[in-house]
Each structure stands twice: as structure tokens, then as C-alpha cells.
């Protein structure tokens, strides 16, 4: 499944945030969007995933998501967005509970993604007992559990210290090597983008345009 952005423009009240964005995200490729803070990267990502509607233009989904994908467009947020009242397992489970899986199958999926992200021993920990890097790995596990067609990552490493960032970056690269996921990766850090991305899109200052 590919995504195509057709001539997208968006404004909040008077503030023109995005202008005439055209972009293709093809299967198994990681597109990095870089740009200064406040240039509309997060806004663009919200438009891509359908959390907001663009005022002009449209986001198209070309082809069917792979069979078994529960939530084709899945986010990973900068602030992790974990429910503090649920354990690691519970947080992953949240994404699955609205789908028609038996509790056995759900447990299997949860164990599987926790193992893949190296969290197998932390299934019953609460988010406050985890470090930042671990929290983001829980968020990645949660995203993987719904088998996304495209992962939309909004500065997933920006809230972490540089060492953890390095480690998690390695994890993401390994993950891509093994599973070849599709992603749109937003960051303000060019080094990250160069290391991870197959293609880099630079967003200029407001109003954001592609370069």
C-alpha cells in the first residue's frame, strides 16, 4: 500500500501552516520529513493519518493494506502516549481490544511484539516504572501489534537522551532489516534522517513547502 499526498494546504485560522505539499510514500520505504520546529511537520503527519482533514488537497491510499493489518495507519508519538494506568501489556492490549481477536490470540500477539521489542520481562510494569527509551519501545510494540501498513512517527526519539536515542535508532534499523516496514518519519534532526531514511523531504519555514 502506498500513500500519495496531492497538493495539500492547511491553515489554522489566519496561520498558513502548509502549502502545496506533494509527496509519495511507497511501500517498504522510510520517508523522513525534516524541518525546523513549528514548520508544520506534526500537522502534516496528522493530515496523513486522517486525524485532521486538509483544507485543500487530499491524502490518497493506493492499493489495499496487506491482509491482517488491523490499523493501516498507525502513529508513534513524541510523548509516547501510554496510558499511565495500564501496564505494558495493557497498553499494547488497548490497541487490540476493539478488534475481533479472541483473548488467547490477543495474548499471543502481545507476547510476540513484546519479545520483538525486547520487553518480554516488563509486561506487568507500569509506565512510570520504565525509562523514556523503554516507554518508546512500548509504544513501538503497540504500533507493531496492529500490523500497520504505514507507521507515522512524530519525532519518536526527540524526548530521549542521546545515548538512548542511539540505541533505539539501532533497534529501528534492525526492525526495518527484519520486517521492512513502511514509515513516514518526522524529525528536526538531520543526522537521524540521513541514517534512517531512504528519502528525505525538507519542509521549509512556514508556510511549509516541500523541497
Amino acid at each position: 500500500m502506498d500513500l500519495r499526498l496531492n497538493n495539500i494546504s492547511h491553515a489554522y485560522e489566519e496561520l498558513q501552516v502548509l502549502k502545496n505539499i506533494d509527496l509519495d510514500i511507497r511501500q517498504s520505504e522510510i520517508v523522513c520529513i525534516v524541518g525546523p520546529s513549528g514548520c508544520g511537520k506534526s500537522t502534516l503527519l496528522r493530515l496523513i493519518g486522517g486525524l485532521e482533514q486538509p483544507q485543500v488537497g487530499e491524502v490518497q491510499q493506493i492499493g489495499e493494506p496487506p491482509p491482517g493489518s488491523l490499523n493501516p495507519l498507525t502513529y508513534i508519538f513524541q510523548d509516547f502516549a501510554l496510558l499511565p494506568w495500564r501496564t505494558v501489556k495493557g497498553n499494547v492490549s488497548l490497541a487490540l481490544e476493539d478488534h475481533d481477536l479472541g483473548s488467547k490470540e490477543r495474548g499471543r500477539v502481545i507476547d510476540d511484539v513484546l519479545r520483538r521489542t525486547g520487553l518480554a520481562e516488563f509486561g506487568d510494569a507500569l509506565p512510570r516504572q520504565l525509562s523514556g527509551g523503554m516507554k518508546q519501545r512500548v509504544a513501538i510494540a503497540r504500533a507493531l501489534s496492529v500490523r500497520p501498513a504505514v507507521m507515522l512517527m512524530d519525532e519518536p526519539l526527540s524526548a530521549l537522551d542521546s545515548q538512548t536515542r542511539e540505541l533505539l535508532m539501532g533497534d529501528l534499523i534492525d526492525l526495518w532489516m527484519n520486517e521492512g516496514f513502511t514509515a513516514c518519519y518526522v524529525t528536526h534532526n538531520l543526522a537521524e534522517a540521513v541514517r534512517l531514511g531512504h528519502r528525505i523531504v525538507v519542509l521549509s519555514r512556514r508556510p511549509g513547502t516541500c523541497r
Binding site: L3, Q27, I48, G49, L83, L94
Partner: protein, 269 residues
């Protein structure tokens, strides 16, 4: 950028579905007056059909009639007091004429009421006294007083709690395609629970105060009456015993809510 498709057949193109909305903060605008009118209509309907007991909650029309009679009375009172021509006529006739001078009377009514309340000696005591005493006379029990006294702190606390739930968590829920009811049950309610429980704490203390106040005014039995009696007989031992019972009652409430907080909010540090 070549437009080649990796799979042979032409792929279906569709727009990405919109998943946001529903939980946005937006001004209610026209809704609130309608809700208010609807609520009054429901109240009237309930009173007419009888499933709301007229003793506990008289219907809106009855309340309005009572208000009009009170206005008439105050108009009559005003007329006899200062012998003004138009108003004296109103005093001779009854409600038919009253309708005409209703609005001038309403002002008078409010003014009299206000002067009564604004007298610093009367103010706090009379309001509480009339409220509590009248409810007691009507119902014979303390339920309505306590109900009203505890309802609003809880509602306001809940409202504040829901309002404070992290928007990012709600957005996360939407991004995973959770249904509306799932978001409410699994994200909004647990997120608002700390505020709801602290609202319960406030409500519990208000409930105790109102209970005792009500007993002091109208009851023969109960802790309030016991303390009042002990106080007037200068039986300090009984007085302190009564106060101790009250304290224990308060501590019990606090303990129960504390346990609930400990259990439901154990995810907090």
C-alpha cells in the same frame, strides 16, 4: 518520479478516512438554552404524570404560581405601606389585576427579599435555615438537602477532571481506531478518576455538615440534635461525646475514600 505500480493490476485509490473529531472542544452555543428548556419540560412532564413526587419536587407551573402569589403579596404589602394610588387599587383587586402590575411587583419582591438577605445579621443564617428547615418540613427526611448539597461538587469535579484529560491520549485512541465508547471508558474515565474521587471527598464533608445542620434545626433525634441539646443544658461531657462521634464519622468517610483512591489510583506514584 515514475508512476510505476509494483503489482501488475491497477490499484484501487481511495482517500484516507477521517478519524478525528468527536472529542474536540467547541463552544456549545445554542445547545445550552435548549437543554435547559428540555430539562424544565421533562420536570413538568414528570410532575404531571406523577413519577416525580409533588412533595419532593413541585412542578414548574406550581413554582411559578407560588412566585406570582408571593409577588402579589409583596405588591399588596407595598400598597398598604405607602398608599400610592395605582398600587392601592391593586391591593383591592386580586390576582387579575396583579397580572398587570406583575412586573413592578416583581421588582419590589426582589428588593424586599434582597433587603432581608443583605441585612448582615440575617444573611448566612436565614439562607441555610430556610433551606434546610423547609426541605425537612416537606420531606421529613434529610435526603433532598444532602442530595443537592453533594450533587454539584461532584458534577463540577467530574467536569473539571474530564476537561483535564490529556488530549494526546485521546488522539492516540483515535489514531488506533478505538470506538467512541472505548475512548470514554478506557481513556477519559480513568483519566478523570482522580478528580472525581477528590470531588467525592468534598461531597462527603458537605454531606456531614448538612446532615448535622438539618438535625440541629428540625429533628428530635440524631447527632445534631444531641449536640444542640447537650449544649443548651451545658452538659459538656455529652457535647464532647457528640463532637467525637462526628469526628469519627468524618474519619470513616475519609478512610473509605482514601482506600478507594489507593486502589483505583495505584498507577500514580
Amino acid at each position: 518520479m515514475a508512476e510505476d505500480q509494483s503489482s501488475g493490476q491497477a490499484d484501487e485509490i481511495k482517500t484516507v478516512p477521517y478519524r478525528g473529531g468527536s472529542f474536540e472542544i467547541r463552544p456549545l452555543g445554542i445547545i445550552s438554552p435548549f437543554v435547559f428548556i428540555g430539562l424544565i419540560a421533562f420536570w413538568e412532564f414528570g410532575s404531571r404524570t406523577g413519577f416525580i413526587s409533588g412533595l419532593v419536587l413541585p412542578s414548574p407551573t406550581e413554582v411559578f404560581t407560588a412566585f406570582r402569589h408571593a409577588v402579589c403579596a409583596s405588591v399588596r404589602f407595598a400598597a398598604t405601606a405607602d398608599h400610592r394610588l395605582g398600587l392601592r387599587q391593586c391591593a383591592r383587586d386580586n390576582c387579575r389585576t396583579c397580572n398587570r402590575s406583575f412586573f413592578c411587583g416583581a421588582g419590589r419582591f426582589v428588593a424586599i427579599g434582597f433587603s432581608h438577605i443583605s441585612n448582615p445579621e440575617n444573611r448566612p443564617v436565614t439562607i441555610v435555615y430556610y433551606l434546610v428547615w423547609h426541605w425537612r418540613r416537606i420531606e421529613g427526611r434529610n435526603n433532598p438537602v444532602i442530595l443537592f448539597g453533594t450533587f454539584f461538587p461532584t458534577v463540577i469535579a467530574t467536569y473539571g477532571g474530564v476537561d483535564n484529560v490529556d488530549r494526546n491520549l485521546i488522539r492516540m485512541g483515535q489514531s488506533f481506531g478505538l470506538s467512541w465508547s472505548s475512548i470514554v471508558r478506557k481513556i477519559i474515565f480513568p483519566g478523570a478518576l482522580p478528580a472525581i474521587l477528590s470531588g467525592c471527598r468534598i461531597s462527603a464533608s458537605i454531606a456531614i455538615i448538612l446532615l448535622v445542620a438539618a438535625e440541629m434545626i428540625g429533628a428530635e433525634f440524631g447527632i445534631g440534635a444531641y449536640i444542640l441539646l447537650a449544649g443548651s443544658l451545658f452538659a459538656t461531657d455529652q457535647l464532647i461525646a457528640g463532637v467525637a462521634v462526628l469526628s469519627v464519622l468524618g474519619l470513616c468517610f475519609a478512610w473509605v475514600i482514601g482506600r478507594a483512591e489507593k486502589y483505583f489510583l495505584r498507577w500514580r506514584a
